[in-house]
């Protein structure tokens, strides 16, 4: 299947970033019409499925939702009851996590390389486990989110991002007089690709305490497809891949060409053939 960005956006540049700023990649699938509670051995079966897909995990922990009822009147204490139960499967440092609940499945990783390697196998393994364990009738939402942190430890002011982030997104940071006075900014851009597909882009500079208090830039791209459909593993995986390509295109719109070229080259000025965040050389 040919996967291209939504809304007729042009395909993304397929050159892999030598210095990828991606901190988190999150795929979430919400579904409905399940059997209800997960089987008691669901955690183990999920872990086995993921291991077969090449995902090494050591942590297996139960997860539980809690329902708290309280009456809004003086002197009436809240009551707590257990909601749904699920499982978290993760590696030791929690950089890769899989959560399964009767109503949603989530894959999250801090180590993204490329779609075909990092995302597709565990997502399909997770979906297969969902089909086996809870047999949902419907998928009601597919979400794919990439949290990027653009870093320059020499950046002491937000002005350092002028010329790197596209002026159309940078907004007042690029202002000649107010720009130098800005210490942080947050902007959210909502995009609608169709009635049920869209993206939420949050971005802005911030003081990065873990990078010598330099000014880093957050670029958080959350693409979603909430078209209800039958729960089919292959189809959901393809829809996620379309979101992936869309996110890649949006990512490239937000940054200037010059800065993207910098990210594409390693210390020796060499470009690496591949893509960010979603293009997959195997699909070229």
């Amino acid at each position: 299947m040919e996967t291209r960005p939504l809304a007729g956006l042009p395909g993304a540049d397929r050159t892999l970033l030598a210095r990828p700023p991606l901190e988190l990649a999150i795929a979430e699938i919400r579904f409905a019409g399940t059997k209800g509670e997960l089987p008691t051995d669901a955690g183990l079966r999920l872990r086995d499925r993921l291991q077969q897909a090449g995902l090494a995990t050591s942590r297996l922990e139960p997860r539980q939702t809690q329902r708290v009822n309280f009456t809004m009147a003086p002197g009436v204490p809240p009551s707590v009851e257990v909601g749904t139960s699920g499982w978290l499967v993760a590696n030791t440092d929690a950089s890769t996590q899989v959560t399964l609940l009767p109503e949603a499945a989530v894959f999250q990783t801090a180590h993204y390389h490329r779609w075909s390697v990092t995302m597709r196998p565990p997502i399909e393994a997770l979906l297969s486990a969902v089909a086996e364990l809870v047999s949902p009738a419907l998928v009601i939402r597919v979400g794919l989110r990439y949290v990027n942190r653009l870093v320059d430890e020499q950046a002491r002011t937000v002005a350092a991002w002028v010329g790197r982030v596209a002026p159309s997104f940078l907004g007042p940071v690029g202002h000649q007089e107010l720009g130098p006075l800005i210490t942080a900014a947050q902007q959210q851009v909502d995009l609608a690709f169709s009635e049920t597909q869209g993206a939420i882009v949050r971005h802005g500079p911030f003081r990065d305490e873990s990078r010598s208090r330099s000014v880093s830039y957050l670029l958080d791209i959350d693409c979603f497809d909430s078209t209800p459909s039958r729960f089919e593993v292959r189809e959901i995986s393809e829809r996620a891949e379309v979101l992936n390509r869309t996110a890649a295109r949006v990512f490239q719109y937000v940054l200037t060409d010059e800065y993207r070229r910098q990210l594409q080259t390693d210390g020796n000025g060499e470009q690496i053939e591949a893509v960010h965040p979603g293009e997959d050389v195997t699909n070229r």
Partner: protein
């Protein structure tokens, strides 16, 4: 922090529309789970807080359900917001779903038994209320007895009793005097003051005399003038002081101040010992 809000089919106001906008944003958001990097976690929480208003749906209780993915700190904050409202909203059932592992809080709100509540939930248009009920509400809201309310409204006490009785007659427009102007006055006071209107009204004898004579516009104008003055104005201090021998205790919780008030569900009558009428 994000929030989703589901519609209930009730008639919506502007605030509900805003909350529904939150819903449109957040129900489409893909929440992050555990974020190992502390700085990144904090930044994401900052962005969440910027773009959503936690517990915003509590502004109106016509909403049934919303969810709030929160950080640990935000989680506590969300509860604090909820609990702060506890003495200001009518009896209502609120259900919170806390996805502790997923850092997600889902809150379900349903209108409770308003007749048991302490708040005048504005369910109906004031024009649809029985004037007898409105008088009792004014007595409670302004801390005044029936005789004074009738005096301020320019209506006879006997007529007011007749309107209050079960099966009592509906008043003719000509006999309602300044009743609806008084309701408006009370609402305006609630909008302008940070304290219950009755505390402001009862704090000054001359002020109260003007109230008894129905000089509502004068009183409001004097209050607005003070509000326009600087905070440190001695006049302001004087006008905003509370006290007086007719000031009620804190037995009744303060009324909830909100945007467009429409009024009114009748409140229980004031305790007999405080009524003058």
């Amino acid at each position: 922090m994000t929030m989703t809000l589901e519609r209930t089919g009730w008639v919506l106001g502007d605030e509900e529309e805003i909350s529904s906008l939150d819903d449109a944003l957040t129900s489409q958001h893909t929440p992050a789970r555990e974020v190992p990097d502390a700085t990144l976690r904090e930044v994401l929480a900052t962005f969440d807080a910027t773009f959503t208003e936690p517990m915003g749906a509590m502004r109106l209780l016509w909403s049934e359900k919303f969810s709030i993915p929160v950080s640990t700190a935000g989680y506590a904050g969300g509860w604090a917001s909820a609990l702060r409202l506890a003495d200001r909203v009518p009896t209502a059932l609120v259900s919170c779903w806390a996805w502790t592992a997923l850092r997600q809080l889902v809150v379900t709100v349903s209108p409770g038994d308003h007749s048991l509540g302490n708040l005048d939930v504005e369910a109906d248009s004031v024009g649809d209320r029985n004037p007898g009920e409105v008088i009792e509400w004014l007595m409670s809201e302004l801390g005044a007895g029936r005789r004074d309310i009738c005096s301020a409204a320019g209506i006879s006490r006997s007529a007011s009793y007749n309107w209050t009785k079960p099966g009592g007659s509906r008043p003719r427009v000509s006999s309602e005097g300044r009743l609806w102007a008084l309701v408006q006055f009370c609402q305006d006071l609630s909008e302008l003051l940070d304290i219950p209107p009755r505390e402001w009204l009862l704090a000054d004898k001359r002020r109260y005399q003007r109230f008894l004579h129905g000089h509502f516009d004068e009183l409001l104008e004097s209050l607005r003038e003070v509000i326009r003055e600087p905070e440190e104005s001695s006049t302001r201090t004087q006008l905003f002081q509370v006290g007086g021998d007719r000031l009620d205790s804190d037995d009744e919780p303060p009324a909830l101040r909100r945007g467009a008030r429409q009024v009114t569900q009748a409140r229980p009558a004031m305790p007999a010992g405080r009524q003058r009428g």
